[in-house]
Each structure stands twice: as structure tokens, then as C-alpha cells.
């Protein structure tokens, strides 16, 4: 009799396992309905929407200058990059020019945030693969970035410090020196990460050849950022469609052709080096001047629309914005990279093992804040 109450197998003899919405390895509140055949995955269906706050609708009900704080909640691991995307859209809509110094500051802040985001990726990915200690080392370094950003913006996670028209304040005293010191120390720290994780044979076994995305598939699914560059697609908006002052900066775009989890991991780790390079150049070249363009009290851009494309740590984060001449936007749409990447999962996960589900999901570095919006 007790047997009748036991968990039931699926009609085809498989087993449905829910990974999430509360599960130690789903980054955020993603739910994966995984059909298992033993350890093998038959099919997988991502269920999203647990973090839906209706941000795009909220944008429509608020004046332009009040939109930025909400974007902090999109990709909360790199909120400055989201601030930048929406600020650029507003600036294009109203043809607002941004002081040069502000552009440099924006790039420094965004790249610092990219470093922080990739460090979170490094830590959580190691955790996903089962190496607990790398997580703590990554967060130790990230904490230094957060301290720097706190000195700059006053907040540790939701910065709201890139605004339409510039940045609200200049570097505080000692910030540039602090960033330089951190960046040079961080670059020296990277070999220990390689020794701890990158070269570890178990880590290599777990990631090499797992979750391979071909170049064509990456294009077809609209992959961007490290997901695309891990599949041999040389696509970085900072190079292909430079915004702010990126065209003046010298940096490489790491591209790997393998398309597996390890390639994506390496793209991100190489990107941290490039971010460090960018930050050093910006701090060297930064001109004096204002940081904010004076904006009218009630900002009413002319009728029209604007699209701003930025390269967030996760990929192409774009904002479409349409104005009808009123103080509030008529429509705002956010093109979130994680959303496009999540749509790949059902294809990627077919036939892999349960442990690979975590490895592949982790290598996408999804942030649910921007998926659900």
C-alpha cells in the first residue's frame, strides 16, 4: 500500500526532476523541468517569470530621469552596465551630449563592474563544478571592487550612478589610485586562479566538450557576449559598434572556437585581463572637465525612437525607447542577453548528463533579473 504513494515515474519510465526555483545551483529563481532517464537528460524546459516585476511597464509610467534606478534591478551583478544602456537610449532620444570626462568615468565604472561580474561567474561556476574554495577567493577580490564602487557611488550593488547626461559626481579622492592598485594586484592574482581551477584536470574534464554551441547555432539563437565569442563569433559591441570612448581604447576581444563550456569560461577569464587594460588606459587618458550635462527640469525628448546597444558582461544588452513628446516614454523594451541564452537550453541539454546541466547552465552565466525583468 505504501508503494502506491511513492513518487511516480513518467509514463515512458523516465523521471521528472525540478531544478529550481529554489535549488543550490540555479542562479536566481530559474526553474528547469528536467526529464531524466537515469542520469541522462531527455528534455529540459526552462520556466521563467518568478522574478517578473513588470519593469518595462514601470518605465512607461515614470519621467525619464527616474528610470535609471530600476535598471539596477535588471542585471544586478552588473548594474552599472544596465544604467549605461538606458542612459544612452535616453541621451540619443533627446540628443543629449555627454562630457568627455563623464564618458571616461562611465567606461571605468562599467569595466570595474564587468570585472566584478566575471569574478562572480568564476566563483559560482567553480561552485557549480564542485570546487568550493575558488568561490571564496573570487568573492574576496570582488569585495575590493565593491569597496571601490562604494567609495565612488555610495552603494555596493545597486549603484544608479550612470545617468542621462553623464555621471552625478566625479571620482572621490584616492579613487584612481585605489583602482590602479587593485587592477595591478588583480592581474597578478589571476595565475593562482589558473592553477586552482583552469588547469585542474577534473575541471577540464567537466567543461571541455560539454555544451558545445556551434557558430551557426550561436548566430541562430541570438547569442552574444561570451556565449558568442566562445563559439568563434568575433562579436563585441565595444569593437563592432563602439559607444562612449571605446574606439579610442586599445584592447583585444578574446575569441575561442571550441564553443564548449571551457571556451566560454576562458573568454570570461581573458576578458578580465582586457577590462584591466581598459581601466588602466582610461585612468591614464582621462581629461579634466565636467561630469554632467545640465538637463532640463522636465525632460521632454522630441517624438521619435532610439536604440542603444551595449556590451554587458553577459552579452548584448540593448534598450529600445520610443517617445511621444511627453515627459514619460511611450514604450521601453530591454533586450536582455540572458534571455536569448536561456532559449538555447532545451537544445543544449538534450542527451547530456544531470551534472552537465549545471555545468552548461553555469557557463551561460544567466542573471534572472534581466530575463524576467
Amino acid at each position: 500500500m505504501a508503494e502506491a504513494q511513492r513518487m511516480t515515474a513518467d509514463a515512458d519510465g523516465g523521471m521528472t526532476v525540478n531544478l529550481g526555483p529554489q535549488h543550490p545551483s540555479t542562479h536566481g529563481v530559474l526553474r528547469l523541468m528536467v526529464q531524466l532517464d537515469g542520469e541522462y537528460v531527455r528534455s529540459c524546459e526552462p520556466v521563467i517569470g518568478y522574478l517578473h516585476r513588470g519593469l518595462e511597464k514601470m518605465f512607461e509610467a515614470r519621467p525619464y530621469r527616474q528610470l535609471v534606478p530600476f535598471t539596477d534591478r535588471l542585471d544586478y551583478l552588473a548594474s552599472l552596465n544596465c544604467n549605461l544602456a538606458i542612459s544612452q537610449a535616453i541621451e540619443r532620444l533627446g540628443s543629449v551630449s555627454v562630457p568627455e570626462r563623464a564618458q571616461y568615468i562611465r567606461v571605468v565604472l562599467c569595466e570595474l563592474n564587468r570585472l566584478a561580474s566575471h569574478l562572480v561567474f568564476f566563483g559560482t561556476y567553480a561552485q557549480d563544478i564542485g570546487a568550493t574554495t575558488a568561490f571564496l577567493y573570487a568573492f574576496r577580490e570582488r569585495e575590493k571592487i565593491l569597496d571601490l564602487l562604494e567609495a565612488m557611488t555610495g552603494a555596493r550593488l545597486t549603484y544608479n550612478w550612470i545617468r542621462p547626461g553623464g555621471v552625478p559626481a566625479d571620482f572621490p579622492d584616492g579613487f584612481a589610485e585605489g583602482v590602479r592598485a587593485f587592477v595591478s594586484a588583480f592581474v597578478k592574482e589571476l595565475p593562482s586562479y589558473d592553477n586552482l581551477l583552469t588547469n585542474n584536470p577534473i575541471f577540464r574534464m567537466r567543461t571541455e566538450g560539454v555544451g558545445v554551441v556551434s557558430r551557426d547555432a550561436a548566430i541562430a539563437f541570438g547569442a552574444s557576449g561570451p556565449m558568442a565569442r566562445g563559439s568563434g563569433l568575433d562579436f563585441d559591441l565595444r569593437k563592432t559598434e563602439p559607444y562612449e570612448i571605446y574606439e579610442r581604447l586599445e584592447f583585444d576581444v578574446p575569441v575561442f572556437n571550441e564553443g564548449d563550456c571551457f571556451a566560454r569560461y576562458r573568454v570570461r577569464m581573458e576578458e578580465t585581463v582586457q577590462s584591466a587594460r581598459i581601466i588602466e588606459q582610461c585612468l591614464r587618458d582621462i581629461p579634466p572637465g565636467d561630469t554632467m550635462t545640465k538637463m532640463p527640469k522636465v525632460f521632454k525628448p522630441p517624438v521619435g525612437d532610439a536604440y542603444s546597444r551595449t556590451e554587458s558582461p553577459r552579452g548584448e544588452l540593448s534598450v529600445y525607447m520610443r517617445s511621444n513628446g511627453s515627459p514619460t516614454p511611450e514604450r521601453v523594451h530591454v533586450r536582455a542577453p540572458s534571455f536569448a541564452h536561456l532559449s538555447m537550453l532545451p537544445c543544449l541539454l538534450r542527451g547530456v548528463k544531470l551534472a552537465d546541466v549545471i555545468a552548461i547552465l553555469g557557463s551561460q552565466d544567466t542573471v534572472l533579473g534581466e530575463v524576467d525583468r
Partner: protein, 381 residues
């Protein structure tokens, strides 16, 4: 070990650097050695007294009394030791991860595990509604009992051994494998999909790694020519196996260590409780004292495997000056720490890679090592 911790504690902060690290290691080791020496003088006296006292002779003559006293001692030793080991693991993991570890309950958090044990004791005992209650209830004990039984043959010294007989090695192997029975029962009984997967993984893993483990032990047996653990240690009186027969014993120890990690479900073989995939595997549904028993079994097993390694490769209780049990425990703790160190460094295998590694790499390698050991023993004789 606790004394050694003083040298490594965060109070000794300073800039990092090559020379600083070397100095720190040296200072730490010196402090550890002095502390160990001081601590063991006391134990030494006690050990000498117990071994020579008339009480032991009276007890030793009475079979029932003997068994009772011994099992009482073993059970208490295991429990108390696990309390210490859990604290040490936390502390060690903390230091490795640039954290402090437990800090506030007792000296450097030494009583933290006691506090946690009390907490687990008073927690509500939850049996999931659709679980197989009988299996669910009995599983922690199924896991814990074999562990306790294995301590019966672990020789702390020539006389401090529960029961040594001609097949002690085989007995230890046979009994310790039964832990997987408890894990499987837990996985099935909890009626949870994560638990089931964890239980199935554990069973496959423990059974597969038993083979190279047994063969690597046989390599030792081939050289010492006995299946009795006491005899194996006695044969190392002059020189430890790992040094005396280095060409075969070092690979054998490597295989033994890897298999021990797998038997203990420790990273890189912690697939049964892989928290990133299976939440916490077979003990997902457990709470309170039943969970504590799994923990107890895990750490007691840890000590047993390390003790077995010391017995087989590192000369058991042999060592200068100090009493046998002190040496044995100290060596065992070093191996336990090594296991922890590995645990906090490496990532986790995937289930097919874990099996492939066993069958394609470890089993052939262990056979090679065993043959080499057989040839070596002929040469030695």
C-alpha cells in the same frame, strides 16, 4: 593539531611573500611539534599507566567485561573524535578559504560542534509523509554501525586494539562497504528524487572503488605477508612501508588515497551529495539526530580510512619517544587533514567520468602495482 593551529591562526597576520610563507610554515610546524610533544606527554603517561595497570589485566581476563569496556571506549572515542574532526574541518576549510572558521563557542569555536550537536538533538524529528518510514528511520544507523564496527580492528597500538585476527584487513573492507547500504536505504526510503539519485550514485561508486582499494591493500599484504593489521604494523617496526618499499608503496598509497576519497564520498568524489546538482543527495530529507548520525558516520569513516592508511603505509603506532596510540592518532590526523586539503581544493567528477576513472585507470593501475608488489616481495625475501 590544536596547538599547531596557533601558528596558523589569523592573529599571525602579515604581508604575504615567499620568505614570509616559508617562515610561517616553519614556525607553524615548530609550534605544532612543541604543542604535540607537550600534549602527548600527558597522554603518554596515561597510556603507560593503562597498559601496565592491574586493572587492564583483570578486565583483559574477563571476556564479557573486556568486550563491554572496549566497545564503551571505542564508541566514546569515535563520538568525541568526530566532534573534534568536524571542528577541525571547519576551521581548516575556513583558513584555506581566507575565512576564520568557527570562533565564538569555546576556545576558537572548539565547542561549536557540541553546540550544533545539541541543536540537532533537540530538533524536530521529521519523517516525510510519503517516505518509507521504516527504511528512513533505520538508514542512518545502517550507515553508522559498520563504521563503528571497523574501529574494532583498528590497531591504536599493539595492545590497544579491539580484536585482531588473521583476516582483520578483509573484515575491515567487508564491513566498511556496508555503509553504502545505509546510504542506499536513505536514498530510497526518503522518497525524494534527489535522494534516490544520490543513493544510486553512492552505491555504484562505493562498490566500484572497493576493487582498486582492495587490490592496493593487497599490495601491502603481499609485502608484509599477513592479513592481520597488527602483524602488518609490526612488520614496519624498522622502517615504514612507504619508505621501505617506496617504488611500489608510493603508487599503492596514491591509489589507496584516491579510493579512500571515493569511499568516503569526499570531493572530488562527493557525487552522492553533490550540492550543486542534488541539493544534498541522499540526506536531503534528513534533519535532527538522524542527519547527525550520517555526519557522525562520515567523519568516523574519515578517521578510519586515514587510520587504515597509517596502519598500512606509515608504520601504525611506531614512532620514537611517544606512546603508540599517540603516534597513531597524530599520524591519522595528518592524513585526515590531507583528505580535507584535497577536498577544499579540487572540483567534482561527473558520474561517468568517476566510473571511467575507476575502471579504466585505477583498476589496471592497482593490478600493475599489486604485481609489482608481489615481485618486490620476492626480491626482498
Amino acid at each position: 593539531m590544536t596547538a599547531g593551529s596557533a601558528g596558523l591562526s589569523p592573529s599571525a597576520r602579515g604581508p604575504s611573500g615567499g620568505a614570509g610563507i616559508a617562515g610561517r610554515i616553519a614556525a607553524g610546524s615548530v609550534v605544532a611539534l612543541i604543542g604535540l610533544a607537550l600534549a602527548s606527554v600527558g597522554c603518554n603517561l596515561v597510556a603507560r599507566f593503562v597498559e601496565g595497570s592491574p586493572l587492564t589485566e583483570v578486565v583483559g581476563d574477563h571476556p564479557l567485561l573486556n568486550a563491554l569496556v572496549k566497545s564503551f571506549i571505542v564508541a566514546n572515542f569515535v563520538t568525541l573524535h568526530v566532534l573534534f574532526l568536524i571542528w577541525w574541518e571547519r576551521k581548516f576549510a575556513g583558513w584555506i578559504q581566507a575565512r576564520l572558521g568557527p570562533k565564538h563557542v569555546g576556545w576558537n569555536g572548539l565547542a561549536q560542534t557540541v553546540a550544533d550537536a545539541v541543536k540537532l538533538l533537540v530538533k524536530e524529528d521529521i519523517i516525510p509523509a510519503k517516505a518509507d518510514a521504516r527504511l528512513f528511520v533505520i538508514a542512518p544507523f545502517l550507515a553508522f554501525m559498520p563504521t563503528l564496527l571497523t574501529f574494532m580492528v583498528l590497531p591504536f597500538s599493539a595492545t590497544w586494539v579491539g580484536y585482531d585476527f588473521g583476516l582483520a584487513v578483509l573484515f575491515a573492507l567487508a564491513v566498511s562497504t556496508n555503509v553504502s547500504l545505509g546510504i542506499l536505504a536513505a536514498g530510497w526510503g526518503a522518497n525524494n528524487k534527489y535522494s534516490l539519485l544520490g543513493g544510486a550514485r553512492a552505491c555504484a561508486q562505493v562498490l566500484a572503488y572497493e576493487i582498486p582499494l582492495a587490490i592496493s591493500i593487497l599490495a601491502v599484504v603481499a609485502i608484509s605477508g599477513s592479513l592481520s593489521l597488527v602483524d602488518i604494523v609490526e612488520s614496519q617496526a624498522r622502517l615504514w612501508n612507504i619508505a621501505a618499499h617506496a617504488p611500489v608503496m608510493i603508487p599503492a598509497f596514491a591509489i589507496f588515497l584516491i579510493c579512500a576519497l571515493a569511499e568516503l564520498n569526499r570531493t572530488p568524489f562527493d557525487l552522492p551529495e553533490a550540492e550543486s546538482e542534488l541539493v544534498s543527495g541522499f540526506h536531503t530529507e534528513y534533519s535532527g539526530m538522524r542527519f547527525a548520525f550520517f555526519y557522525l558516520a562520515e567523519f568516523a569513516n574519515n578517521f578510519f580510512m586515514a587510520g587504515l592508511a597509517v596502519t598500512l603505509f606509515f608504520g601504525g603506532w611506531h614512532g620514537p619517544l611517544l606512546a603508540g596510540p599517540v603516534w597513531f592518532t597524530a599520524k591519522t590526523l595528518v592524513i585526515v587533514t590531507l583528505i580535507m586539503w584535497i577536498r577544499w581544493t579540487v572540483p567534482r567528477f561527473r558520474v561517468d567520468q568517476m566510473m571511467g576513472f575507476c575502471w579504466k585507470v585505477l583498476v589496471p593501475l592497482s593490478l600493475v602495482v599489486f604485481c609489482a608488489a608481489a615481485l618486490w616481495s620476492v626480491r626482498v625475501q
